[in-house]
């Protein structure tokens, strides 16, 4: 057989191989399925709303709270300091710098349990580290932090500290979310700019 024909066969074979490769290799889960199952059973991926309230009060710079709800829901009310990455836009390359990084801990929340856990599984499957979930989502935050009430005659120091944390977080939440829309947008835009600069962006 002519060497040219052999080479053509080789090239056609190479084309076949390319045809079998995943459409977008960079967006295929890197973790093996059984590893992901084991990781998903780890309860350390969860933060309680009280832990998140403490991070909010302390303006903890090692924590980034990620709101996965729609833009409209986010603008209506959000946890102070959170960044909005709507879930349907989760894998947009614009957000990759936020989700795929090793500097801060991302804490995902939606309104309930589903969206944040789906997002966590996708991010972890893709091999992105440092992603966590706020247990119970915004509904749990509202129930525990915004509507918490102390009833009783005596309060232990521990209960008092917890109540103070919730009260402070509630005040911050109400302050931020009561701002007129224009001021709120300015605040969020300034925060987004600050974060993109910290991430090495050029906006």
């Amino acid at each position: 057989m002519n060497a040219r024909i052999k080479l053509s066969v080789v090239l056609m074979g190479a084309g076949l191989i390319l045809a079998f490769l995943p459409y977008n290799a960079s967006k295929t889960f890197q973790m093996k399925p059984d590893e992901l199952v084991a990781e998903a059973l780890n309860n350390e991926i969860y933060f309680s709303v009280d832990q998140v309230a403490r991070f909010v009060n302390n303006e903890d710079s090692a924590i980034r709270i990620v709101d996965l709800r729609s833009r409209e829901e986010f603008l209506e009310c959000n946890i102070p300091g959170s960044v909005n990455i709507p879930f349907n836009d989760f894998l947009n390359p614009d957000w990759e710098g936020y989700i795929n990084q090793k500097t801060v801990k991302n804490i995902f929340y939606g309104n309930g349990e589903e969206t944040a856990n789906v997002a966590w599984t996708i991010a972890t499957g893709l091999g992105y580290e440092n992603n966590f979930v706020m247990k119970g989502g915004m509904n749990e935050w509202y129930k525990t932090v915004m509507l918490s009430n102390f009833e009783g005659d005596r309060i232990t120091p521990r209960e008092n500290a917890l109540f103070e944390t919730r009260l402070k977080a509630r005040r911050l939440f109400t302050q931020l979310n009561s701002l007129p829309d224009s001021l709120k947008m300015q605040f969020l835009e300034a925060k987004r700019l600050e974060e993109s600069q910290l991430d090495g962006g050029c906006e």
Binding site: G13, C77, L176
Partner: protein, 149 residues
């Protein structure tokens, strides 16, 4: 000629590696963005299930079997950690209708759903006791008098 032979050997090795990778069941091959799209409509509520005429296999994935009021005849128990065992995978693959994942913890069924979706199970849904668990149940009342400290 010797060069071509060497190249052919290399090519055959490459083909074998690609075949091994393509047929390996312990690898994800789907595009993750497909999960983001499919997650928008992956919930089936109990009322929808009651009104549905389609056939479903209900898979309870809690560590222990849970008896629930909507248990269908076609119900099996596969604990989440055993979801990918060969026999269990086969049971899921053999299901021609829809597969409904159920857990008392919605977080667990959500994670199981993503894993199965990325393993090319396109007929998997999450059974939810609530009509819309991702709905915000409260209304925030702004306080116009409030000022930033």
């Amino acid at each position: 000629m010797k060069g071509i032979r060497l190249f052919l050997v290399f090519f055959v090795v490459l083909v074998v590696l690609v075949i091994v990778r393509t047929t390996n069941k312990n690898l994800f091959k789907n595009d993750a963005s497909g999960a983001v799209q499919a997650a928008q409509k992956n919930l089936v509520s109990v009322s929808q299930l009651k009104n549905s005429a389609g056939s479903f296999l209900l898979v309870s994935i809690d560590p222990e079997p849970v008896s629930h009021p909507f248990a269908a005849e076609n119900t099996i128990h596969i604990p989440f950690e055993k979801l990918l065992e060969k026999d269990n995978r086969k049971k899921l693959q053999n299901e021609k209708g829809g597969i409904l994942l159920y857990s008392t913890n919605l977080a667990l069924s959500s994670k199981a759903w993503v894993i199965l979706n990325q393993l090319k199970f396109s007929n998997v849904y999450i059974l939810s006791e609530e009509e819309n668990p991702e709905e915000f149940k409260y209304t925030f009342q702004p306080e116009p008098s409030i000022r930033l400290e």
